[in-house]
């Protein structure tokens, strides 16, 4: 198992930009050499389409492509590789579940339950199907510290609720939601649950079978892998029920001009040539993450968060947004009289990369009465030196704007 402090050297971007203080891993993580090299090797030496060719290259690539599926199934504790669908990312995964699993069952007056801290990707697909079906989108509120109002949640779980879609870690507040407990409570009422694991997949070991999650979704690029590839995990019985929403090559069993029968799961959801290089890259990313010692990793990220929080708190007129007890290494803040975009532009001139804006959680921030925050989010390559640089620069901004 690798010790975290040696990991920065595994990421080539920091060799090209030695002064880069990258605090935007919640938007996308940097890529380790093994992922970059793996993708390059694929295009140089292994490229062929899958499931079609009768020659060695194609057969080997198909094998690797399916091996990654097994790897991911094993990584998240799925029953079998059949339960792993490749998508273009978290957003596509959620849209597939909304349109193909939930919408066909939804009737007028039914409810879909989400929380007030969802990313737009876990809000709009549900809003759309609820509008179409005359159903209600119910929103679990959060408390002032950015933790979910669990008492309200329990009260909202009634017989009208047909589905619960909930984020594991809020990309804006860093709150870690108690998903195991929430799944248990929802299942008591026979409500299936989707977990948006976009922010947690890189840093937490998730076990879908132990959690009893019905669906779990994530993106490759937030787990040190490539963009444009993601995963939908679904319990096989549910995937079997679902109809594909994209039609084309590679997802069929038999086609005539009159009718088509579809392939079995998972292929029936993967129409057309998929992002093969993305899958290969994701496989290397999963291998990479598996080598990380979980205890060392958690201690490292926690120390980054604690140090950031205490350093920023010392700055007059700065408020941390999201102070839940259970938090991951994401720190949002606002500075009196200085807009987050001005903060981010200042930080950028110091080579500090952060995100500023609404983080695709517009309604959540409006609930708090703010339009935007500055967000520092951490990955395994960050150091305490990065935290010091951030705190020093933010203090300078405060002094400049007075």
């Amino acid at each position: 198992m690798t010790k975290v402090k040696f990991l920065k050297s595994e990421f080539p971007i920091f060799q090209h930009y030695p002064d880069l203080v990258y605090l935007d891993s919640a938007a996308t993580t940097q890529k380790p050499r093994v992922v970059i090299d793996g993708i390059q090797r694929f295009y140089e030496m292994e490229n062929a389409n899958i499931h079609r060719g009768l020659y060695d290259l194609a057969a080997k690539t198909t094998e690797r492509y399916e091996l990654v599926r097994c790897k991911i199934a094993d990584f998240i504790g799925a029953n079998s590789a059949k339960e792993i669908i490749y998508t273009s990312g978290t957003t596509a995964s959620i849209n597939l579940v909304a349109r193909s699993f939930v919408a066909p069952q939804l009737k007028a007056g039914d409810e879909v339950l989400i929380s007030a801290m969802e990313h737009h990707a876990n809000l709009i697909p549900w809003q759309m199907i609820c509008q179409q079906k005359d159903a209600k989108l119910s929103i679990i509120p959060f408390l002032e510290d950015g933790s979910l109002d669990l008492a309200a949640f329990q009260q909202m779980l009634d017989s009208k609720v047909k589905f619960l879609a909930i984020v594991h870690i809020s990309n804006t507040f860093g709150t870690v939601n108690p998903i195991a407990e929430m799944i248990r409570l929802a299942h008591e009422k026979d409500i299936p649950v989707l977990i948006d694991a976009a922010q947690s997949i890189a840093n937490y070991r998730l076990h879908v079978k132990n959690l009893d999650a019905d669906f779990l979704v994530f993106s490759g690029h937030k787990i040190y892998g490539p963009t444009g590839i993601g995963v939908l995990y679904g319990k096989e019985e549910y995937l079997q029920q679902m109809q594909p929403i994209n039609f084309g090559g590679d997802m069929i069993r038999n086609v005539t001009f009159e009718a088509t029968s579809f392939a079995d799961v998972p292929q029936k959801f993967e129409a057309g040539t998929t992002n093969i290089a993305g899958v290969i890259g994701l496989g290397y990313a999963v291998d990479f993450v598996k080598t990380l010692d979980q205890v060392v990793l958690q201690n490292h990220l926690n120390s980054l968060l604690q140090n950031t929080t205490s350093a920023l708190k010392k700055i007059e007129g700065l408020q941390i947004v999201g102070t839940a007890k259970q938090k991951s290494a994401i720190c949002s803040f606002v500075l009196d009289n200085v807009h987050p975009h001005d903060v981010a532009t200042f930080l950028a001139t110091e080579n500090i990369a952060v995100r500023a804006g609404n983080h695709c959680t517009q309604p959540a921030l409006e609930t708090l009465g703010t339009g935007a925050t500055t967000r520092a989010s951490f990955g395994i390559y960050n150091t305490l030196e990065d935290v010091e640089k951030l705190a020093t620069a933010v203090q300078q901004i405060k002094d400049f704007f007075g």
Binding site: D342, T345, F400
Partner: protein
């Protein structure tokens, strides 16, 4: 402090950010516009009182960064008491300055100069143009409906 940064956050921008002109809600105004940038969440409401084709009062209110706030503050200053046509011309000048930085001496309005630096910062050019682009659209529509 970084030189480029200094060119952006000149005193004119800092002053207008701290004490914006005409920063008031005027729900009873003849016209209200919304200037909203969905990417960053900057959101202003602009209020125009109009008598015939002349702007008699301009106010704004809302939330945004120093650049967008100062740019809107300056807009309210320069469009006050202007006819739609004059106002349209000023908007064109301002936006031309932002994009090309090549106004002639006669064309240049001193306070506009500070905003040209915005185009050299990733993602910040639209902070300087947000309210101006919305206002220009509004003016064009008014002029079209009058002709």
């Amino acid at each position: 402090m970084d030189k480029r940064l200094k060119s952006l956050y000149q005193s004119v921008i800092l002053e207008h950010n701290k004490s914006p002109l005409n920063f008031e809600k005027k729900e009873a105004a003849s016209y209200q516009l919304k200037a909203y940038n969905s990417m960053c969440g900057d959101k202003y409401q602009l209020y125009f009182d109009v008598v015939e084709d002349r702007i008699t009062n301009v106010y704004f209110h809302g939330y945004g960064c120093a650049i967008s706030k100062a740019a809107t503050s300056i807009l309210t200053k320069h469009l006050d008491q202007k006819t739609f046509e004059e106002a349209q011309q000023i908007c064109h000048l301002y936006l031309k300055h932002l994009q090309t930085d090549v106004l002639s001496e006669e064309e240049m309005i001193e306070e506009f100069e500070a905003f040209s630096a915005a185009q050299h910062f990733p993602g910040r050019a639209q902070c300087a143009s947000l309210s101006w682009v919305e206002t220009l659209g509004f003016l064009e529509e008014r002029l079209k409906s009058e002709s």
